[in-house]
Symmetry: C2
Subunit: 205 residues, 2 copies
């Protein structure tokens, strides 16, 4: 949920319009059951200045990647054909960009638990060292911005605002949202050794 | 939107059930138009371990405060009758707690722009110095946790998790959401002199 709503809040304070797009619009559910409305389908989607791909339930991601119709990955590839827009992900959304081939040869990151998935499943991705909040990369094939896990999207969204509208707009969004974070706990990022993506669900014949 | 969804995300990773409650359930809209579903009315609300009051459109807050039926403020007062639960706000949600008298004599904070509202409108509130992420206070009348603006709710939610389920649960929520923030811009909090709450809308006779 925060992969979508945190950045959307930031973009709103920077007067950037956000359109929610889904393969099947309707009243959808985040992982925790919070239901929200999406009215725009992949077919109705316009071309945007930036595409933001959230993470989600790992089983759902595996099923999207294994979909023989490539409905979701095909949409991502079509959106990435215009090379001057930012193709972004946060959290395990990077798995979908990687599966679509859109991170091949680019430096990228993802949620800490999914970092091993790059080497195991998508070895053409140049994995950024450590656990950065976000990684920017680009060449003549296009521009990429990938974020770490969930809350990384807030930092990443401020960077995207700066890229699209300049640093003053990003500073104003920081002020409006009072984003001067100071977590009251001090944990360490665990060391994950293997990719937690499950096998895709068997499909009906 | 982030006042609600950021903390809800944190609570979800700590296995804390969240129920969205509204005066009039249905498909509601956040300020930016993002529509989401609320199924529980004030009448149907149970007693919870914590009540979390978000901020919102300042005009809507003024109208809630001026409501002669005190629908919203009466709900808050009823929920606060049990003294062992945490009564929390984030952002200008503190204006509603203050208007209900629930912050009288307590140390509290709110979004930086609404800090002057305490002195102007709710002088019995003991305003915390500066712009803390959150402020805890309590006595035999009850327990209060008030947050700063919007994104402060993430830090405050981790604190509430620690209060309800212990520091280990809070550390795990920080890990799951990869909440090790590092904003890529460095702005300062503006100096607000007057309360930005507008007058309530005139009501039909």
């Amino acid at each position: 949920m925060l992969d979508v709503t945190g950045p959307a809040e930031m973009f709103g304070w920077a007067d950037i319009d956000v359109e929610l797009v889904a393969a099947e619009p309707g009243l959808l559910s985040f992982r925790n059951g919070f239901r929200f409305e999406v009215t725009c389908s992949f077919d109705q989607a316009r071309t945007y200045d930036a595409l933001w791909v959230p993470g989600g339930d790992p089983q759902a991601l595996s099923d999207i990647i294994a979909d023989p119709d490539q409905t979701y990955l095909g949409f991502l590839r079509a959106q990435a054909r215009t090379t001057d827009r930012w193709i972004c992900s946060v959290c395990e959304g990077a798995m979908l960009l990687a599966a679509a081939g859109l991170l091949d040869g680019y430096r990228a990151t993802t949620h800490w638990a999914f970092i091993p998935c790059f080497a195991e499943r998508f070895p053409k991705v140049a994995v950024a060292d450590g656990f950065p909040r976000f990684v920017e990369d680009g060449d003549d094939r296009g521009k990429r911005l990938t974020g770490g896990g969930i809350s990384s999207g807030l930092d990443e969204a401020l960077r995207l605002i700066a890229l699209l509208k300049g640093p003053k707009a990003a500073a104003e969004a920081q002020q409006s949202t009072q984003y001067y974070p100071d977590p009251p706990v001090r944990s360490a990022i665990p060391h994950q050794l293997t990719c937690p993506l499950p096998p895709p669900k068997p499909r009906a014949a």
